[in-house]
């Protein structure tokens, strides 16, 4: 049954995405660890972690596209789930520091010693175990999304109102995590990690391992998402996006469908955050900033909403641009990002992946091209 589910989502697009990811998973380790450092084909550990970071963002974008592109829930707070997954991983990494911290306390992380705390808060218990932290990476964002979605969807909050409360959610978490007495390192967050699963976190081998883990997580999430989209459940989700009222009168409890996709999406975002933290070496409350969530929306819009592959493409391209811009012309980056969003909204409503179809439709004698873009015309229609 599981095989059938994964096979269902395997179309040509999925083939391309999975092939590229498989190539990355093979080539990057070879280029970093086996190719000698003086060869032009050698890849530095810095580049590996940078690519890994892009792919974590791609996973966040994929999760966002699942709910925005296919269910019509425009989340302006998805970075909150990303950051919660990141904090869960960060707590594990903090516990792994042990007595190697500045204050040398075998149990308490440095910031707790600094605050004169004498024992570990209850919610830090268990995080010395990797399996427990890994479980929390899924459970904490998942539980928050489930509770949030339960109330929001049951109360039939939709459209822009829902977007605004997702934004409020991430902002509330931002303020909470800034507080020192929350016990998550306050303003500074969690950093200065030493090892993960017993391996030195700075070692090239560990870096490459984390990169490969990110590729695998992204590929698996892609297969899960495209399997869902291809299933009958996916068709119900798209129907909910366009005309939710009609779906209700067919006897589908649309709230539970939205809740399913929403919670799954939050778990994916949590995994993305958990893989991000060891690769960048820090997690702090700024990840909860509303701007992070909005940036993720722009990635999806640039790549092409409702395409899955477009979300990945958009996240990688925009972040590549960000790395370049913030190095070369740092003060111009936000203008470029804003301009990009306006340009995409005006000229590329279906994003980069929709560009091909858009051009085909413009050719004379090919008016049918319009109709071959699934979800194009009706995507913006308001439900009943």
């Amino acid at each position: 049954m599981l095989t059938r589910f994964f096979l269902m989502g395997l179309d040509r697009k999925a083939g391309v995405v999975l092939t590229i990811l498989a190539l990355l998973a093979v080539l990057v380790p070879v280029m970093t660890l086996l190719v000698p450092a003086d060869s032009p084909f050698h890849m530095s550990v810095f580049t590996v972690s940078l690519l890994g970071k892009y792919l974590c963002f791609a996973l966040l974008a994929l999760a966002l596209d699942l709910v925005w592109g296919y269910v019509g829930i425009l989340s302006l707070g998805h970075a909150a789930f990303f950051a919660l997954g990141g904090y869960a991983m960060g707590m594990y990494l903090m516990r792994q520091i042990g007595p190697r911290g500045v204050y040398g306390n075998p149990v308490l992380p440095d910031f707790m010693v600094f605050l004169n705390w004498t024992e570990l808060p209850w919610y830090w218990l268990g995080f010395d175990q990797f399996w427990f932290a890994a479980l929390m990476v899924l459970a904490v964002p998942g539980a928050l999304a489930f509770a949030f979605g339960w109330f929001a969807f049951r109360s039939r909050v939709t459209g822009v109102y829902l977007s605004i409360i997702t934004q409020a959610l991430t902002f509330a978490l931002l303020l909470a995590f800034f507080r020192n007495d929350m016990g998550f390192g306050g303003n500074n967050g969690l950093t200065d990690f030493k090892e993960i699963l017993g391996a030195d976190i700075q070692a090239p081998g560990t870096r490459v391992g984390l990169f490969v883990a990110t590729v695998v997580a992204l590929a698996l999430s892609y297969m899960i998402a495209s399997g869902i989209i291809a299933s009958k459940l996916g068709k119900v989700l798209v129907a909910v996006r366009d005309t939710e009222g009609r779906v209700r009168f067919l006897g589908y409890d649309t709230e539970s469908y939205k809740l399913f996709a929403w919670t799954l999406s939050a778990c994916m975002a949590g995994v993305a955050g958990a893989l991000y933290v060891p690769q960048v070496g820090i997690i702090n409350p700024s990840e909860f900033a509303p701007a992070s969530s909005i940036e993720a929306v722009i990635w999806v819009a640039v790549g092409g909403r409702g395409t899955l592959a477009g979300a990945i493409l958009g996240a990688v391209l925009v972040n590549f641009g960000k790395s370049y811009f913030t190095g070369a012309l740092p003060e111009l980056w936000l203008f470029a990002l804003g301009g990009l969003f306006v340009a995409v909204t005006l000229f590329l409503p279906k994003g980069l992946l929709g560009l091909g179809a858009q051009l085909a439709a413009k050719l004379p004698g090919n008016r049918a091209g319009n109709k071959s873009v699934p979800g194009g015309k009706t995507a913006d229609q308001k439900g009943m």
């Binding site: 009222g245 067919l250 539970s256 009706t378």
Partner: protein
């Protein structure tokens, strides 16, 4: 009459929107297998009546019983639909990004929980049923077309097909021939009459020739309550109906 033998039983149902009484002490009884046409001027409460039956609007007062026992005023839309009440909207509402086939597959009677639909694989019976409905609604050649690319009349038919796929006990059909050509109107009347034997049907319609073609009992609504009931000829002769609706 006792409510027990009825399929649908509305008694003293009232709904107000900001002081406007859309339904005013409306009472209506449908027997199993019956087909009924509802006519009446704009604002008579025809669509609101469908809304209260299907759970879209909650009545302020009154009783609505399905099969003599189930109180519909306490249920949500999806639960009411699953009891066996299907609805076709005035404006044809089909799932435009999906194919005709997928539209019918979504409507087809099957478990409605998310995890059931995730693992759903279409079986031989379901396939045969969809083929049959494609035949009935004359959409067989267009099965792979996106619903959004169908003509207005075809969308109406697809929606009727989706209703059939739901296998409801009661169908509520709101203006099925609005915007149709005469030939399409005639075919639609045939189609609905073919359905009526197996299901109960309530049709709301303005088009008098269509109502005549159906040849069923007619209920005239005006200002939120029943003005007259009987055969089309009988209600057409009713002086009150002539005054409020048909005109002299």
């Amino acid at each position: 009459m006792s409510a027990e033998d009825t399929l649908l039983y509305l008694d003293g149902v009232s709904v107000s929107f900001d002081g406007f009484r859309a339904l005013n002490n409306l009472s209506l009884v449908m027997m199993p297998g019956e087909m009924r046409a509802i006519i009446g001027p704009n604002g008579a409460g025809k669509t609101t009546m469908m809304d209260v039956i299907t759970g879209k609007t909650r009545p302020d007062h009154g009783t609505i019983l399905f099969e003599g026992a189930t109180d519909l005023t306490r249920l949500r839309e999806a639960s009411i639909a699953n009891l066996g009440i299907g609805r076709k909207f005035q404006r044809p509402t089909v799932f435009e990004p999906h194919t005709v086939w997928d539209n019918l597959e979504l409507a087809l009677k099957a478990p409605r929980r998310p995890l059931k639909t995730l693992t759903y694989a279409i079986g031989r019976d379901d396939k045969a049923r969809i083929e049959e409905i494609l035949e009935i609604t004359r959409l067989s050649p267009k099965r792979d077309r996106l619903a959004g690319s169908l003509s207005h009349g075809e969308k109406q038919w697809l929606e009727i097909g989706m209703l059939l796929a739901q296998e409801p006990k009661l169908l509520l059909v709101d203006e099925p021939v609005a915007g149709m050509t005469d030939a399409e109107t005639e075919q639609t009347a045939e189609l609905l009459c073919g359905i009526a034997g197996k299901h109960s049907v309530i049709v709301v319609e303005h088009d008098m020739s269509f109502v005549r073609a159906l040849g069923v009992k007619v209920t005239v609504l005006a200002e939120g309550s029943v003005l007259a009931e009987g055969s089309l000829d009988a209600v057409s002769a009713n002086s009150q109906v002539i005054d409020t609706y048909l005109g002299r």
